[in-house]
Symmetry: C2
Subunit: 212 residues, 2 copies
């Protein structure tokens, strides 16, 4: 079962060379004396998709290391000057979806806004992409929850993740929004992906339909 | 500044085709009627690196979707039979580092164990890789904290992430362990990466040393 023996205290450990992709993990972050400051409430959602609270100037070097190509910004307020200058200087594409930050906001936001944000999120031409609102809790948490729904996660895991980032300010209305989000609306989009990349030809459209 | 106009309520939204990598996000999870159950306390650490609590049988389909190739298991107890059978059937490599789960465990664990676990973690031949202990809180949190230190994260962000996954059972001893972990021990390892992939020849060893 245990293919690799555990290291024992007192054993000699030889740290051999490590295989590492260029642009990955260490190779993309090592080499600075100054520590990197990720934005508050930062997290990795999936390969090339990140989430956080509002990035401030001290977070810009970190975003450079992530090589962020696009930002999904979920507040209605205009981007502050310093942030706007940063995205311009880095040629980052800014996608703004102005969702009000009021307590029960997500109840009144139409699914269309979320769907359009998801479409941006799923498009690898926009990756690496950062989702953020003000605190990275509620609006970001709802969008990530809907994304997990597209990934076919069970509801309790979506909620567990939402709670992790929203704590201690959990909003039941957000959790209901995630539960109620109708993932089938995105399906013709998703079907496009399946058709393109899985080589389903005219022979198997029914199979695809059943799966989706 | 805003390169992409936000969608307005009432606008017609056309969901065009999305560019998606094969094996990614949707293409690797869509297509099942049964929801996927990620292990408790699941999180994405970095590309190809995941963390969680102890996976149970209901989580195995999810791990299959992630295409997990290796597991770093941080408890001293033998792997349960059902888990052992799963890793064998999937040809997953299991790396066990038996760290006691007692309250002040990390104070007494030598850095050598953590270093060896980090070496496994950094090696892309082992990716996608899942780190887990029992709850995915303390032992996993310490290892991920040390990994973030290698990534040059500031201490407050490492601690913020630790707290997110360990809450509400935060252990100050773990946070001290992360703070005190001497990242320079890993440096000859990291230097090997830089030499291999960044083409530093004999001309620039000093530069590399300064950077590390």
């Amino acid at each position: 079962m245990i293919l690799e023996a555990a290291v024992q205290e007192g054993d000699e450990v030889v740290l051999g060379p490590i295989l590492q992709r260029e642009g990955d993990i260490l190779t993309r972050s090592i080499g600075g004396d100054v520590p990197l400051f990720p934005p508050s409430n930062f997290g990795v959602v999936d390969r090339g998709i990140y989430r956080s609270g509002f990035p401030s100037e001290e977070n810009f070097p970190f975003l450079k290391v992530l090589n962020v190509r696009s930002i999904v910004y979920l507040c209605p307020e205009p981007y502050p000057k310093v942030n706007a200058e940063f995205v311009r200087s880095q040629a980052i594409r800014l996608f703004q979806f102005g969702i009000e930050g009021s307590r029960e906001s997500f109840v009144t936001v139409s699914n269309r806004t979320i769907m359009e944000a998801l479409r941006v999120l799923l498009d690898i031409r926009n990756h690496p992409i950062l989702i953020h609102c003000k605190r990275g809790k509620h609006r970001t948490g709802c969008l990530v929850g809907c994304f997990r729904k597209l990934q076919n996660w069970c509801l309790s895991s979506m909620h567990e993740e939402y709670i992790k980032f929203a704590s201690p300010k959990i909003r039941p209305s957000d959790m209901r929004f995630i539960e109620m989000f109708d993932v089938s609306q995105m399906m013709h989009c998703v079907l496009g992906i399946i058709y393109r990349y899985h080589g389903f030809g005219h022979q198997a459209p029914r199979l695809v339909y059943q799966k989706a």
